[in-house]
Symmetry: C2
Protein backbone atom coordinates (compact mmCIF):
# COMPACT_ATOMS: atom_id res chain seq x y z
CA UNK A 1 0.00 0.00 0.00
CA UNK A 2 1.27 3.43 -0.82
CA UNK A 3 1.95 5.60 2.14
CA UNK A 4 0.52 8.79 0.68
CA UNK A 5 -2.70 10.39 -0.43
CA UNK A 6 -3.09 9.85 -4.18
CA UNK A 7 -4.64 13.27 -4.85
CA UNK A 8 -1.82 14.90 -2.88
CA UNK A 9 0.75 12.89 -4.78
CA UNK A 10 -0.85 13.73 -8.15
CA UNK A 11 -1.16 17.45 -7.57
CA UNK A 12 2.29 17.75 -5.96
CA UNK A 13 3.77 16.17 -9.06
CA UNK A 14 1.69 18.33 -11.38
CA UNK A 15 2.93 21.43 -9.56
CA UNK A 16 6.47 20.09 -9.83
CA UNK A 17 6.16 19.66 -13.60
CA UNK A 18 4.50 23.02 -14.19
CA UNK A 19 7.14 24.78 -12.09
CA UNK A 20 9.59 24.21 -14.94
CA UNK A 21 8.40 27.60 -16.10
CA UNK A 22 8.66 29.77 -13.00
CA UNK A 23 5.79 32.18 -13.68
CA UNK A 24 3.47 29.44 -14.89
CA UNK A 25 4.28 27.42 -11.78
CA UNK A 26 3.49 30.38 -9.55
CA UNK A 27 0.10 30.95 -11.16
CA UNK A 28 -0.89 27.27 -11.22
CA UNK A 29 0.15 26.62 -7.62
CA UNK A 30 -1.76 29.71 -6.51
CA UNK A 31 -4.86 28.60 -8.44
CA UNK A 32 -4.70 25.21 -6.73
CA UNK A 33 -4.08 26.47 -3.20
CA UNK A 34 -6.62 29.29 -3.38
CA UNK A 35 -9.33 27.10 -4.90
CA UNK A 36 -8.43 24.96 -1.90
CA UNK A 37 -10.74 22.13 -2.86
CA UNK A 38 -9.39 18.63 -3.60
CA UNK A 39 -12.62 17.84 -5.47
CA UNK A 40 -11.68 20.34 -8.19
CA UNK A 41 -9.49 18.75 -10.82
CA UNK A 42 -6.62 20.59 -12.46
CA UNK A 43 -4.95 19.27 -15.61
CA UNK A 44 -1.74 20.82 -16.89
CA UNK A 45 -0.95 21.22 -20.59
CA UNK A 46 -4.31 20.38 -22.01
CA UNK A 47 -4.36 19.64 -25.71
CA UNK A 48 -7.05 21.54 -27.63
CA UNK A 49 -8.13 21.72 -31.22
CA UNK A 50 -8.04 25.29 -32.52
CA UNK A 51 -9.30 24.78 -36.02
CA UNK A 52 -9.22 22.06 -38.70
CA UNK A 53 -5.49 21.47 -38.59
CA UNK A 54 -4.34 23.72 -35.78
CA UNK A 55 -3.69 22.57 -32.24
CA UNK A 56 -2.70 24.20 -29.01
CA UNK A 57 -1.64 23.26 -25.52
CA UNK A 58 -3.15 25.43 -22.85
CA UNK A 59 -1.24 25.87 -19.58
CA UNK A 60 -3.95 24.63 -17.22
CA UNK A 61 -7.38 23.13 -17.76
CA UNK A 62 -10.21 22.67 -15.29
CA UNK A 63 -12.20 19.87 -16.96
CA UNK A 64 -15.19 20.10 -14.60
CA UNK A 65 -15.83 23.68 -15.71
CA UNK A 66 -14.28 23.63 -19.20
CA UNK A 67 -12.04 26.54 -18.28
CA UNK A 68 -8.49 26.94 -19.60
CA UNK A 69 -5.91 29.27 -18.12
CA UNK A 70 -3.10 30.80 -20.12
CA UNK A 71 -0.14 32.27 -18.23
CA UNK A 72 1.39 35.05 -20.31
CA UNK A 73 5.01 35.81 -19.44
CA UNK A 74 6.26 39.36 -20.07
CA UNK A 75 7.96 38.24 -23.33
CA UNK A 76 4.51 37.33 -24.59
CA UNK A 77 3.73 41.01 -25.02
CA UNK A 78 6.94 41.93 -26.81
CA UNK A 79 5.24 43.15 -29.97
CA UNK A 80 1.84 43.81 -31.40
CA UNK A 81 2.04 40.99 -33.94
CA UNK A 82 2.53 38.38 -31.24
CA UNK A 83 -0.32 39.86 -29.18
CA UNK A 84 -2.65 39.75 -32.20
CA UNK A 85 -1.60 36.20 -33.03
CA UNK A 86 -2.41 35.08 -29.54
CA UNK A 87 -5.73 36.85 -29.47
CA UNK A 88 -6.66 34.94 -32.61
CA UNK A 89 -5.46 31.66 -31.09
CA UNK A 90 -7.57 32.25 -27.99
CA UNK A 91 -10.67 33.07 -30.06
CA UNK A 92 -10.15 29.91 -32.13
CA UNK A 93 -9.90 27.72 -29.05
CA UNK A 94 -13.02 29.23 -27.53
CA UNK A 95 -14.97 28.91 -30.78
CA UNK A 96 -13.82 25.37 -31.51
CA UNK A 97 -14.27 23.88 -28.06
CA UNK A 98 -16.96 26.01 -26.50
CA UNK A 99 -14.58 26.27 -23.53
CA UNK A 100 -13.50 29.46 -21.84
CA UNK A 101 -9.89 30.69 -22.01
CA UNK A 102 -8.78 33.07 -19.24
CA UNK A 103 -5.42 34.82 -19.22
CA UNK A 104 -2.95 36.01 -16.59
CA UNK A 105 -0.68 38.91 -17.50
CA UNK A 106 2.66 38.49 -15.67
CA UNK A 107 3.87 42.01 -16.41
CA UNK A 108 1.84 43.36 -13.53
CA UNK A 109 2.84 43.98 -9.93
CA UNK A 110 2.58 40.92 -7.70
CA UNK A 111 -0.46 42.29 -5.86
CA UNK A 112 -2.29 42.71 -9.17
CA UNK A 113 -1.25 39.28 -10.47
CA UNK A 114 -2.51 37.77 -7.21
CA UNK A 115 -5.75 39.73 -7.59
CA UNK A 116 -6.26 38.46 -11.14
CA UNK A 117 -5.66 34.86 -10.07
CA UNK A 118 -8.03 35.27 -7.13
CA UNK A 119 -10.75 36.54 -9.45
CA UNK A 120 -10.38 33.37 -11.54
CA UNK A 121 -10.49 31.33 -8.33
CA UNK A 122 -13.77 32.97 -7.34
CA UNK A 123 -15.18 32.44 -10.80
CA UNK A 124 -14.30 28.73 -10.69
CA UNK A 125 -15.82 28.32 -7.22
CA UNK A 126 -18.95 30.06 -8.49
CA UNK A 127 -19.12 27.65 -11.43
CA UNK A 128 -18.80 24.79 -8.98
CA UNK A 129 -21.70 26.09 -6.88
CA UNK A 130 -23.85 26.41 -9.98
CA UNK A 131 -23.06 22.85 -11.07
CA UNK A 132 -23.85 21.57 -7.58
CA UNK A 133 -27.22 23.35 -7.66
CA UNK A 134 -27.94 21.71 -11.02
CA UNK A 135 -26.73 18.38 -9.56
CA UNK A 136 -24.10 18.21 -12.32
CA UNK A 137 -20.87 18.54 -10.38
CA UNK A 138 -18.67 15.45 -10.49
CA UNK A 139 -16.20 15.73 -7.59
CA UNK A 140 -12.68 14.81 -8.54
CA UNK A 141 -11.11 12.12 -6.49
CA UNK A 142 -7.92 10.66 -7.87
CA UNK A 143 -8.60 7.47 -5.88
CA UNK A 144 -11.93 7.09 -7.65
CA UNK A 145 -10.51 7.45 -11.12
CA UNK A 146 -11.32 3.77 -11.46
CA UNK A 147 -13.29 1.66 -13.86
CA UNK A 148 -16.06 1.23 -11.31
CA UNK A 149 -16.40 4.98 -10.89
CA UNK A 150 -17.02 5.50 -14.60
CA UNK A 151 -19.29 2.47 -14.90
CA UNK A 152 -21.49 4.00 -12.20
CA UNK A 153 -21.40 7.38 -13.89
CA UNK A 154 -22.42 5.56 -17.11
CA UNK A 155 -21.01 8.28 -19.40
CA UNK A 156 -17.57 8.64 -20.93
CA UNK A 157 -16.57 12.05 -22.24
CA UNK A 158 -13.13 12.95 -23.60
CA UNK A 159 -13.56 16.38 -22.06
CA UNK A 160 -13.69 14.75 -18.62
CA UNK A 161 -10.06 13.70 -18.99
CA UNK A 162 -10.59 10.02 -18.15
CA UNK A 163 -7.33 8.17 -17.55
CA UNK A 164 -7.15 4.66 -16.18
CA UNK A 165 -4.04 2.92 -14.90
CA UNK A 166 -4.55 -0.63 -16.15
CA UNK A 167 -6.41 -2.74 -18.70
CA UNK A 168 -8.19 -4.38 -15.76
CA UNK A 169 -9.68 -1.00 -14.87
CA UNK A 170 -10.87 -0.57 -18.47
CA UNK A 171 -12.56 -4.00 -18.21
CA UNK A 172 -14.37 -2.85 -15.07
CA UNK A 173 -15.90 0.10 -16.95
CA UNK A 174 -17.66 -2.30 -19.31
CA UNK A 175 -18.06 -5.28 -17.00
CA UNK A 176 -15.75 -7.35 -19.21
CA UNK A 177 -14.47 -10.59 -17.68
CA UNK A 178 -10.73 -9.98 -17.29
CA UNK A 179 -9.99 -13.58 -18.32
CA UNK A 180 -11.11 -12.48 -21.82
CA UNK A 181 -8.07 -10.29 -22.23
CA UNK A 182 -5.53 -13.08 -21.85
CA UNK A 183 -4.18 -14.90 -24.86
CA UNK A 184 -1.81 -17.47 -23.42
CA UNK A 185 0.97 -15.49 -21.81
CA UNK A 186 0.13 -12.44 -23.89
CA UNK A 187 -2.64 -9.95 -23.67
CA UNK A 188 -5.12 -9.13 -26.35
CA UNK A 189 -5.17 -5.66 -27.81
CA UNK A 190 -8.84 -5.25 -26.96
CA UNK A 191 -12.04 -6.98 -25.88
CA UNK A 192 -15.52 -7.24 -27.36
CA UNK A 193 -18.34 -5.56 -25.41
CA UNK A 194 -20.39 -8.31 -23.70
CA UNK A 195 -23.72 -6.96 -24.99
CA UNK A 196 -22.58 -5.67 -28.42
CA UNK A 197 -20.40 -8.06 -30.38
CA UNK A 198 -19.75 -5.41 -33.06
CA UNK A 199 -18.09 -3.07 -30.58
CA UNK A 200 -14.49 -3.53 -29.53
CA UNK A 201 -12.96 -1.86 -26.50
CA UNK A 202 -9.50 -1.19 -27.84
CA UNK A 203 -6.31 -0.13 -26.04
CA UNK A 204 -3.75 0.73 -28.70
CA UNK A 205 -0.40 2.06 -27.54
CA UNK A 206 1.92 4.84 -28.45
CA UNK A 207 4.76 2.32 -28.44
CA UNK A 208 5.10 -0.51 -30.95
CA UNK A 209 3.94 -3.86 -29.48
CA UNK A 210 4.58 -7.15 -31.32
CA UNK A 211 5.14 -5.18 -34.51
CA UNK A 212 1.82 -3.34 -34.18
CA UNK A 213 1.98 0.41 -34.37
CA UNK A 214 -0.87 2.80 -33.86
CA UNK A 215 -0.10 6.15 -35.33
CA UNK A 216 -2.53 8.67 -34.02
CA UNK A 217 -3.05 12.14 -35.31
CA UNK A 218 -1.99 14.63 -32.68
CA UNK A 219 -5.62 15.48 -31.95
CA UNK A 220 -6.73 11.81 -31.93
CA UNK A 221 -9.10 12.49 -34.81
CA UNK A 222 -7.62 9.41 -36.53
CA UNK A 223 -5.65 6.31 -35.52
CA UNK A 224 -3.82 4.10 -38.00
CA UNK A 225 -3.47 0.41 -37.17
CA UNK A 226 -0.67 -1.46 -38.89
CA UNK A 227 2.04 -4.05 -38.40
CA UNK A 228 5.66 -3.67 -39.42
CA UNK A 229 5.16 -7.12 -41.06
CA UNK A 230 3.36 -6.23 -44.33
CA UNK A 231 1.73 -9.70 -44.60
CA UNK A 232 0.28 -9.50 -41.09
CA UNK A 233 -0.93 -5.98 -41.81
CA UNK A 234 -2.75 -7.09 -44.97
CA UNK A 235 -4.34 -10.11 -43.26
CA UNK A 236 -5.54 -7.80 -40.52
CA UNK A 237 -6.90 -5.36 -43.09
CA UNK A 238 -8.83 -8.15 -44.85
CA UNK A 239 -10.26 -9.33 -41.52
CA UNK A 240 -11.63 -5.93 -40.50
CA UNK A 241 -12.41 -4.00 -43.69
CA UNK A 242 -15.92 -5.42 -43.99
CA UNK A 243 -16.64 -5.96 -40.30
CA UNK A 244 -18.25 -2.59 -39.63
CA UNK A 245 -16.77 -2.61 -36.16
CA UNK A 246 -16.97 0.33 -33.83
CA UNK A 247 -14.23 0.87 -31.30
CA UNK A 248 -14.19 2.48 -27.89
CA UNK A 249 -10.60 3.60 -27.57
CA UNK A 250 -8.34 3.99 -24.53
CA UNK A 251 -4.97 5.11 -25.79
CA UNK A 252 -1.95 3.95 -23.82
CA UNK A 253 0.59 6.70 -23.37
CA UNK A 254 2.85 8.27 -20.80
CA UNK A 255 1.05 11.11 -19.06
CA UNK A 256 2.66 14.43 -18.16
CA UNK A 257 4.06 12.80 -15.02
CA UNK A 258 5.68 10.00 -17.02
CA UNK A 259 3.25 7.35 -15.83
CA UNK A 260 1.59 4.84 -18.16
CA UNK A 261 -2.08 5.64 -18.53
CA UNK A 262 -4.96 4.51 -20.71
CA UNK A 263 -6.74 7.66 -21.76
CA UNK A 264 -10.25 7.59 -23.16
CA UNK A 265 -10.01 9.27 -26.58
CA UNK A 266 -13.43 8.52 -28.07
CA UNK A 267 -15.52 6.17 -30.23
CA UNK A 268 -14.06 5.30 -33.63
CA UNK A 269 -15.30 3.85 -36.91
CA UNK A 270 -13.33 2.76 -39.92
CA UNK A 271 -12.48 5.42 -42.50
CA UNK A 272 -13.40 2.95 -45.22
CA UNK A 273 -12.42 4.88 -48.35
CA UNK A 274 -9.01 5.83 -46.97
CA UNK A 275 -8.44 2.30 -45.63
CA UNK A 276 -9.33 0.68 -48.99
CA UNK A 277 -7.19 3.17 -50.88
CA UNK A 278 -4.15 2.45 -48.71
CA UNK A 279 -4.92 -1.17 -47.82
CA UNK A 280 -4.39 -0.35 -44.17
CA UNK A 281 -6.83 0.37 -41.35
CA UNK A 282 -7.59 3.98 -40.54
CA UNK A 283 -9.96 4.60 -37.65
CA UNK A 284 -11.59 7.99 -37.43
CA UNK A 285 -13.22 9.46 -34.37
CA UNK A 286 -16.99 9.50 -34.59
CA UNK A 287 -17.68 10.97 -31.16
CA UNK A 288 -16.00 12.08 -27.94
CA UNK A 289 -18.91 11.09 -25.74
CA UNK A 290 -20.85 7.90 -25.08
CA UNK A 291 -23.27 6.24 -22.73
CA UNK A 292 -21.95 2.94 -21.36
CA UNK A 293 -25.03 0.86 -20.70
CA UNK A 294 -26.91 0.54 -22.93
CA UNK A 295 -24.22 1.59 -25.37
CA UNK A 296 -25.08 4.83 -27.07
CA UNK A 297 -23.00 7.34 -28.98
CA UNK A 298 -23.74 10.80 -27.61
CA UNK B 1 14.07 48.37 -17.06
CA UNK B 2 12.80 44.94 -16.20
CA UNK B 3 9.30 44.21 -17.25
CA UNK B 4 8.29 42.30 -14.12
CA UNK B 5 7.72 42.73 -10.43
CA UNK B 6 10.92 41.79 -8.57
CA UNK B 7 9.13 40.15 -5.64
CA UNK B 8 7.03 38.13 -8.08
CA UNK B 9 10.11 37.13 -10.02
CA UNK B 10 11.99 36.15 -6.85
CA UNK B 11 9.22 34.08 -5.33
CA UNK B 12 8.29 32.42 -8.64
CA UNK B 13 11.89 31.30 -9.00
CA UNK B 14 12.07 30.15 -5.39
CA UNK B 15 8.94 28.04 -5.91
CA UNK B 16 10.48 26.68 -9.09
CA UNK B 17 13.63 25.60 -7.26
CA UNK B 18 11.82 24.08 -4.30
CA UNK B 19 9.49 22.16 -6.62
CA UNK B 20 12.41 19.88 -7.41
CA UNK B 21 11.05 17.82 -4.56
CA UNK B 22 7.34 17.50 -5.32
CA UNK B 23 5.98 17.32 -1.77
CA UNK B 24 8.26 20.08 -0.52
CA UNK B 25 7.20 22.24 -3.45
CA UNK B 26 3.54 21.66 -2.66
CA UNK B 27 3.95 22.67 0.97
CA UNK B 28 6.11 25.72 0.26
CA UNK B 29 3.86 27.02 -2.51
CA UNK B 30 0.82 26.58 -0.26
CA UNK B 31 2.57 28.41 2.59
CA UNK B 32 3.34 31.30 0.27
CA UNK B 33 -0.09 31.56 -1.36
CA UNK B 34 -2.04 31.13 1.87
CA UNK B 35 0.09 33.62 3.80
CA UNK B 36 -0.81 35.78 0.80
CA UNK B 37 1.32 38.68 1.89
CA UNK B 38 4.23 39.91 -0.26
CA UNK B 39 5.71 41.64 2.81
CA UNK B 40 6.43 38.24 4.39
CA UNK B 41 9.77 36.87 3.27
CA UNK B 42 10.33 33.20 2.54
CA UNK B 43 13.83 31.76 2.18
CA UNK B 44 14.35 28.21 0.91
CA UNK B 45 17.08 25.91 2.18
CA UNK B 46 18.22 27.93 5.13
CA UNK B 47 21.52 26.91 6.63
CA UNK B 48 21.45 26.44 10.41
CA UNK B 49 23.95 25.47 13.01
CA UNK B 50 22.80 22.46 15.02
CA UNK B 51 25.67 22.11 17.44
CA UNK B 52 29.40 22.79 17.54
CA UNK B 53 30.25 20.97 14.33
CA UNK B 54 26.86 19.94 13.02
CA UNK B 55 24.90 21.78 10.38
CA UNK B 56 21.54 21.44 8.74
CA UNK B 57 19.57 22.90 5.87
CA UNK B 58 15.94 23.47 6.70
CA UNK B 59 13.42 23.38 3.86
CA UNK B 60 11.95 26.86 4.37
CA UNK B 61 12.79 29.73 6.67
CA UNK B 62 10.74 32.80 7.53
CA UNK B 63 13.46 35.19 8.72
CA UNK B 64 11.06 37.84 10.04
CA UNK B 65 9.65 35.35 12.54
CA UNK B 66 12.60 32.99 12.95
CA UNK B 67 10.44 30.04 11.96
CA UNK B 68 11.73 27.06 9.99
CA UNK B 69 9.52 24.54 8.22
CA UNK B 70 10.54 20.97 7.59
CA UNK B 71 8.61 18.96 5.01
CA UNK B 72 8.75 15.29 5.92
CA UNK B 73 8.13 12.93 3.02
CA UNK B 74 6.64 9.50 3.80
CA UNK B 75 10.11 7.87 3.53
CA UNK B 76 11.14 10.05 6.43
CA UNK B 77 9.12 7.86 8.77
CA UNK B 78 10.39 4.56 7.44
CA UNK B 79 11.86 3.44 10.74
CA UNK B 80 12.08 4.45 14.33
CA UNK B 81 15.80 5.15 14.21
CA UNK B 82 15.37 7.76 11.49
CA UNK B 83 12.46 9.36 13.35
CA UNK B 84 14.54 9.57 16.54
CA UNK B 85 17.50 10.97 14.66
CA UNK B 86 15.36 13.69 13.21
CA UNK B 87 13.73 14.55 16.49
CA UNK B 88 17.21 15.08 17.92
CA UNK B 89 18.20 17.21 14.92
CA UNK B 90 15.15 19.38 15.35
CA UNK B 91 15.79 19.84 19.10
CA UNK B 92 19.41 20.78 18.36
CA UNK B 93 18.40 23.41 15.81
CA UNK B 94 15.84 24.93 18.17
CA UNK B 95 18.29 24.97 21.08
CA UNK B 96 21.19 26.34 19.08
CA UNK B 97 19.36 29.06 17.19
CA UNK B 98 16.45 29.92 19.43
CA UNK B 99 14.32 29.56 16.31
CA UNK B 100 11.21 27.46 15.99
CA UNK B 101 11.10 24.38 13.75
CA UNK B 102 7.67 23.25 12.56
CA UNK B 103 7.05 20.04 10.65
CA UNK B 104 4.65 18.84 7.98
CA UNK B 105 3.91 15.11 7.83
CA UNK B 106 3.23 14.13 4.20
CA UNK B 107 1.82 10.71 5.05
CA UNK B 108 -1.54 12.25 5.84
CA UNK B 109 -4.56 12.73 3.63
CA UNK B 110 -4.46 15.89 1.54
CA UNK B 111 -7.17 17.59 3.61
CA UNK B 112 -5.10 17.02 6.77
CA UNK B 113 -1.86 18.16 5.15
CA UNK B 114 -3.65 21.31 3.98
CA UNK B 115 -5.03 21.82 7.48
CA UNK B 116 -1.56 21.49 9.02
CA UNK B 117 -0.10 23.99 6.57
CA UNK B 118 -2.98 26.39 7.21
CA UNK B 119 -2.35 26.23 10.96
CA UNK B 120 1.27 27.26 10.33
CA UNK B 121 0.02 30.05 8.06
CA UNK B 122 -2.23 31.35 10.83
CA UNK B 123 0.58 31.11 13.34
CA UNK B 124 2.88 33.13 11.08
CA UNK B 125 0.23 35.79 10.46
CA UNK B 126 -0.31 35.99 14.23
CA UNK B 127 3.43 36.48 14.74
CA UNK B 128 3.31 39.24 12.16
CA UNK B 129 0.47 41.01 13.96
CA UNK B 130 2.38 40.81 17.24
CA UNK B 131 5.52 42.26 15.66
CA UNK B 132 3.48 45.08 14.12
CA UNK B 133 1.98 45.92 17.52
CA UNK B 134 5.48 46.04 18.97
CA UNK B 135 6.56 48.15 15.98
CA UNK B 136 9.16 45.50 15.16
CA UNK B 137 7.92 44.13 11.86
CA UNK B 138 10.21 44.83 8.90
CA UNK B 139 8.15 44.35 5.74
CA UNK B 140 9.94 42.41 3.06
CA UNK B 141 10.27 44.15 -0.22
CA UNK B 142 12.70 42.67 -2.68
CA UNK B 143 12.99 46.08 -4.36
CA UNK B 144 14.08 47.64 -1.07
CA UNK B 145 16.79 45.13 -0.33
CA UNK B 146 19.20 47.98 -0.95
CA UNK B 147 22.06 49.57 0.93
CA UNK B 148 19.94 52.60 1.72
CA UNK B 149 17.25 50.43 3.25
CA UNK B 150 19.69 48.88 5.72
CA UNK B 151 21.42 52.18 6.45
CA UNK B 152 18.07 53.62 7.50
CA UNK B 153 17.29 50.55 9.55
CA UNK B 154 20.73 51.03 11.19
CA UNK B 155 21.03 47.37 12.26
CA UNK B 156 22.53 44.42 10.43
CA UNK B 157 21.59 40.94 11.62
CA UNK B 158 22.62 37.70 9.93
CA UNK B 159 19.23 36.26 10.89
CA UNK B 160 17.57 38.89 8.68
CA UNK B 161 19.09 37.28 5.61
CA UNK B 162 20.63 40.45 4.16
CA UNK B 163 21.82 40.00 0.59
CA UNK B 164 22.96 42.87 -1.59
CA UNK B 165 23.56 42.73 -5.33
CA UNK B 166 26.62 44.93 -5.73
CA UNK B 167 29.59 46.40 -3.87
CA UNK B 168 28.07 49.83 -4.54
CA UNK B 169 25.06 48.79 -2.45
CA UNK B 170 27.38 47.69 0.36
CA UNK B 171 29.02 51.13 0.22
CA UNK B 172 25.61 52.78 0.60
CA UNK B 173 24.99 50.90 3.85
CA UNK B 174 28.02 52.59 5.43
CA UNK B 175 28.01 55.83 3.46
CA UNK B 176 31.35 54.93 1.88
CA UNK B 177 32.35 57.01 -1.12
CA UNK B 178 32.28 54.51 -4.01
CA UNK B 179 35.41 56.07 -5.51
CA UNK B 180 37.23 54.53 -2.49
CA UNK B 181 36.69 51.04 -3.83
CA UNK B 182 38.52 51.57 -7.10
CA UNK B 183 42.19 50.72 -7.44
CA UNK B 184 43.07 51.66 -11.01
CA UNK B 185 41.02 49.33 -13.15
CA UNK B 186 40.63 46.90 -10.29
CA UNK B 187 38.46 46.98 -7.26
CA UNK B 188 39.62 46.75 -3.70
CA UNK B 189 38.58 43.79 -1.62
CA UNK B 190 37.10 46.07 1.02
CA UNK B 191 36.84 49.62 2.32
CA UNK B 192 37.59 51.28 5.66
CA UNK B 193 34.60 52.65 7.60
CA UNK B 194 34.64 56.46 7.29
CA UNK B 195 34.29 56.99 11.05
CA UNK B 196 36.31 53.99 12.32
CA UNK B 197 39.63 53.48 10.63
CA UNK B 198 40.19 50.15 12.44
CA UNK B 199 37.10 48.62 10.85
CA UNK B 200 37.14 47.21 7.33
CA UNK B 201 34.02 46.46 5.36
CA UNK B 202 35.17 43.32 3.56
CA UNK B 203 33.65 41.46 0.59
CA UNK B 204 35.56 38.21 0.20
CA UNK B 205 34.37 35.79 -2.44
CA UNK B 206 33.72 32.11 -2.73
CA UNK B 207 35.71 32.13 -5.97
CA UNK B 208 39.45 32.79 -6.12
CA UNK B 209 40.21 36.36 -7.25
CA UNK B 210 43.76 37.45 -8.20
CA UNK B 211 45.08 34.43 -6.32
CA UNK B 212 43.17 35.30 -3.14
CA UNK B 213 41.04 32.58 -1.68
CA UNK B 214 38.71 32.91 1.24
CA UNK B 215 37.91 29.54 2.66
CA UNK B 216 34.98 29.83 4.94
CA UNK B 217 33.73 27.25 7.33
CA UNK B 218 30.32 26.05 6.19
CA UNK B 219 28.66 27.93 9.05
CA UNK B 220 30.73 31.10 8.48
CA UNK B 221 32.17 30.87 11.98
CA UNK B 222 35.61 31.33 10.42
CA UNK B 223 37.09 32.68 7.18
CA UNK B 224 40.64 32.04 6.06
CA UNK B 225 42.34 34.68 3.91
CA UNK B 226 45.25 33.55 1.79
CA UNK B 227 46.88 33.89 -1.59
CA UNK B 228 48.04 31.03 -3.79
CA UNK B 229 51.30 32.99 -4.00
CA UNK B 230 52.98 32.11 -0.67
CA UNK B 231 55.08 35.31 -0.64
CA UNK B 232 52.03 37.54 -1.10
CA UNK B 233 50.23 35.56 1.60
CA UNK B 234 53.05 36.06 4.09
CA UNK B 235 53.35 39.79 3.33
CA UNK B 236 49.63 40.10 3.89
CA UNK B 237 49.90 38.17 7.15
CA UNK B 238 52.67 40.48 8.39
CA UNK B 239 50.61 43.54 7.46
CA UNK B 240 47.52 42.49 9.38
CA UNK B 241 48.65 40.29 12.28
CA UNK B 242 49.21 43.25 14.64
CA UNK B 243 46.60 45.59 13.22
CA UNK B 244 43.76 44.56 15.50
CA UNK B 245 41.33 45.14 12.67
CA UNK B 246 37.67 44.26 12.88
CA UNK B 247 35.83 43.32 9.72
CA UNK B 248 32.22 43.64 8.68
CA UNK B 249 31.85 40.86 6.16
CA UNK B 250 29.62 40.52 3.09
CA UNK B 251 30.43 37.20 1.50
CA UNK B 252 30.10 37.01 -2.28
CA UNK B 253 28.45 33.80 -3.42
CA UNK B 254 25.84 32.45 -5.79
CA UNK B 255 22.46 32.30 -4.10
CA UNK B 256 19.97 29.47 -4.50
CA UNK B 257 18.78 31.05 -7.75
CA UNK B 258 22.31 31.18 -9.16
CA UNK B 259 22.64 34.93 -8.85
CA UNK B 260 25.74 36.66 -7.43
CA UNK B 261 24.95 38.17 -4.06
CA UNK B 262 26.89 39.76 -1.20
CA UNK B 263 25.48 38.23 1.94
CA UNK B 264 26.06 39.81 5.33
CA UNK B 265 27.68 37.07 7.47
CA UNK B 266 28.77 39.01 10.57
CA UNK B 267 31.53 40.94 12.30
CA UNK B 268 34.92 39.21 12.44
CA UNK B 269 38.13 39.56 14.42
CA UNK B 270 41.44 37.84 13.89
CA UNK B 271 41.92 34.45 15.50
CA UNK B 272 45.39 35.52 16.56
CA UNK B 273 46.76 32.31 18.04
CA UNK B 274 45.66 30.20 15.07
CA UNK B 275 46.89 32.81 12.59
CA UNK B 276 50.32 33.02 14.26
CA UNK B 277 50.59 29.25 14.46
CA UNK B 278 49.85 28.84 10.74
CA UNK B 279 51.29 32.15 9.49
CA UNK B 280 48.05 32.79 7.68
CA UNK B 281 45.05 34.98 8.52
CA UNK B 282 42.08 33.32 10.18
CA UNK B 283 39.08 35.53 10.88
CA UNK B 284 36.57 34.31 13.40
CA UNK B 285 33.06 35.58 13.79
CA UNK B 286 32.59 37.72 16.87
CA UNK B 287 28.94 38.58 16.33
CA UNK B 288 26.04 38.18 13.93
CA UNK B 289 24.51 41.54 14.75
CA UNK B 290 25.67 45.14 14.71
CA UNK B 291 24.49 48.71 14.82
CA UNK B 292 25.69 50.73 11.84
CA UNK B 293 25.97 54.29 13.12
CA UNK B 294 27.56 54.69 15.55
CA UNK B 295 29.24 51.32 15.02
CA UNK B 296 28.42 48.91 17.80
CA UNK B 297 28.68 45.15 18.04
CA UNK B 298 25.36 43.83 19.33
Amino acid sequence: MNNFDSTFDYIARVLQKTARKAYEGYVISRLWHKINDPTVKLVPQQYVNRASNLYALTDVYFPQFKIHIEVNEPAHYKNNASIQKDRKRKAQIEKNTGHRVLEIDCRKKIELINGDIDRIVNFILEQKRELILKNQFIPWDEKENTGLFWRRKNTLDVDNDISLSTIEEICKVFNINPSKIKRGFQRTGGAILPANSDILVWWPAEKTRNGWTNCEKFDFSEIEEKNSDRVKSLEHYEEYINLNQRRIVFFKHKDILGIDKYKFVGIYVLNESKSRRRKSLYWKRKSKKMQINPFLIL
